[in-house]
Symmetry: C2
Subunit: 319 residues, 2 copies
């Protein structure tokens, strides 16, 4: 049985995982989820990326939106606003609230986030093992200029409230340096046959996971193929505003630049979209095997083919 470890962010990672699960239904898939975008709202612990993976694979996602629950209502949020309590810019629905209430209660009772996530997954049965990257608190902050001042704002505030409309000058996963990988993370990497970086945000999703001390080293030392799929197609992010994040760390928004950012010390193979076939040579010159295939996740079938391509590339570089 093939053991696959995937480092996943939110929407892009979750959709890729659905394709991967469909491509290799017998594989044992461990997902290491980003928790740097976690936020406390209304006294509740919200884990947007973990929930997006859980809801997407568990059949509860709002498909059109990519995050949040299907058939959602916003009564609690409206009532909170009637009390003058916000923020109003974060779309917490009634169904979603229940997840955060359960999580917050379990955390308050002393359970680590990894056990809480397992308990929540007992309902959703995502068909993968979902692990938070760490049980410690890591919070991605973004440095921006607002009202004439340089300020650090929570990633969600940058992403959701400001919609990345201002330039990011720095991205800091606060707490990452002191964090330790959650139980199971390093073991899963050590036991993996292949490690995949889905087309998630290379800075605030995959990058944050790699910032947890020990994770990058474990992947480099596992001695198994590490294959990534470019989130940049034709010099623009397929989903979200990854270009803004790349600019903040001085990386060009191209498929080749992202591959080189990960680097040949970490990455063995890289899939770029057929649109970017011209960049294959640049990536290969950087010591990373590169193939151009269609990378648009237009359907579960198209995504499954992307997963197949990634695993084929893994087999090739591992041979």
């Amino acid at each position: 049985m093939q053991r696959i470890v995937v480092l996943a962010g939110g929407v892009g990672g979750a959709r890729f995982l659905r394709g991967l699960r469909s491509a290799v239904p017998e594989a044992e898939i461990t997902v290491i989820g980003n928790t740097g975008d976690d936020i406390h709202l209304f006294g509740l612990k919200v884990c947007p990326d973990l929930d997006t993976v859980m809801y997407t694979l568990g059949g509860g996602i709002n498909e059109a939106q990519g995050w949040g629950r299907a058939d959602e209502s916003f009564t609690v949020k409206e009532e909170l606003a009637a009390y003058g309590v916000g923020p109003e810019w974060f779309g917490l629905g009634d169904r979603d609230f229940a997840t955060h209430i359960v999580r917050t209660q379990m955390l308050a009772a002393g359970y680590p986030l990894s056990e809480v996530t397992e308990a929540l997954c007992a309902r959703w049965r995502p068909g993968v093992r979902l692990l938070p990257m760490t049980d410690d608190r890591v919070e991605t902050h973004v440095a921006v200029d607002l009202d004439g001042e340089r300020k650090a704002v929570h990633f969600q505030e940058y992403w959701v409230r400001l919609r990345a409309s201002v330039d990011a000058h720095a991205v800091v996963p606060v707490g990452a340096e002191q964090a330790t990988p959650a139980p199971g993370v390093l073991d899963a990497i050590a036991a993996a046959d292949v490690v995949l970086f889905p087309p998630s945000n290379p800075v605030v999703s995959v990058g944050t996971i790699l910032a947890v001390p020990g994770v990058r080293e474990a992947i480099a030392e596992a001695g198994v193929p590490v294959i990534g799929l470019s989130p940049i197609v034709g010099d623009a992010p397929v989903h979200g505003m990854a270009d803004k994040m790349l600019a903040a760390i001085g990386v060009r928004s191209t498929a080749a630049a992202v591959a080189q950012h990960y680097g040949s010390g970490l990455l063995d193979g890289w899939l770029v979209d057929t649109t970017d076939a011209a960049t294959v040579r640049e990536v290969e010159e950087a010591g990373i095997r590169c193939v151009a295939v269609p990378l648009m996740m237009t359907s579960e079938e198209a995504t499954a083919r992307m997963a197949d391509e990634a695993l084929a590339l893994a087999a090739e570089v591992g041979a």
Copy 2:
């Protein structure tokens, strides 16, 4: 301007208050609310009696039910149940959840319950000053025989889950002895022109408020008329299951017995329903002025007439 202090429980107290406010719109009404039925659910602090008063006077109550919000939905609760998280027997609706989230956040931030209640009332504008009896934690427990064992259960569990279907052997307001009246409570009593006991539960509502050290003494020493309205009509509670609670403390479920339970040291006047006109003499022999008037709160107008009768009796005994 007449200053009226009312010791209120939930449904009965709230409905009486609406009639009182309508009867004397110019009066300054301070409500001392019972908090002994407060409960923590899903990590949230729920204050059923305070909320019933706030929603009823603020126009947000579910009229038919007498508690909870009008036009309520139960999405969060259903989702919690899908996670296997209960209790399912307590009907927390989505709109109601928002109140408890705001309250819990403010308490966690260090605000005392009295200030939290004031903040919540800024939205509801109940037209009265609503004070919790205490900022300290008091929790009414009921001793019952369950599964062959004597157990103490939370009042809400007795009332809502068990629907008072088993005998109560004792009622204990845990924490009351160590509690101190909330800011404003003793001052309001000292400044009152009249103190009213609405037709609330004499044991777990009014009785719990009186159990906070200092409250009973302040009322007795205020030197103003103290008038009660019987919650028992024709030997049965008008609302709820007060008879069960009275039995637990060895008081018969009659209008006269409740008056004598409060006692002439506290109570100056007592209104019984016309149905119970025959008991007037028994109450008066106990040293409490008693009048029989219609006590069914069938409408706001009928309730306003009850309030008028109570104030008329106050004027009479105070003369």
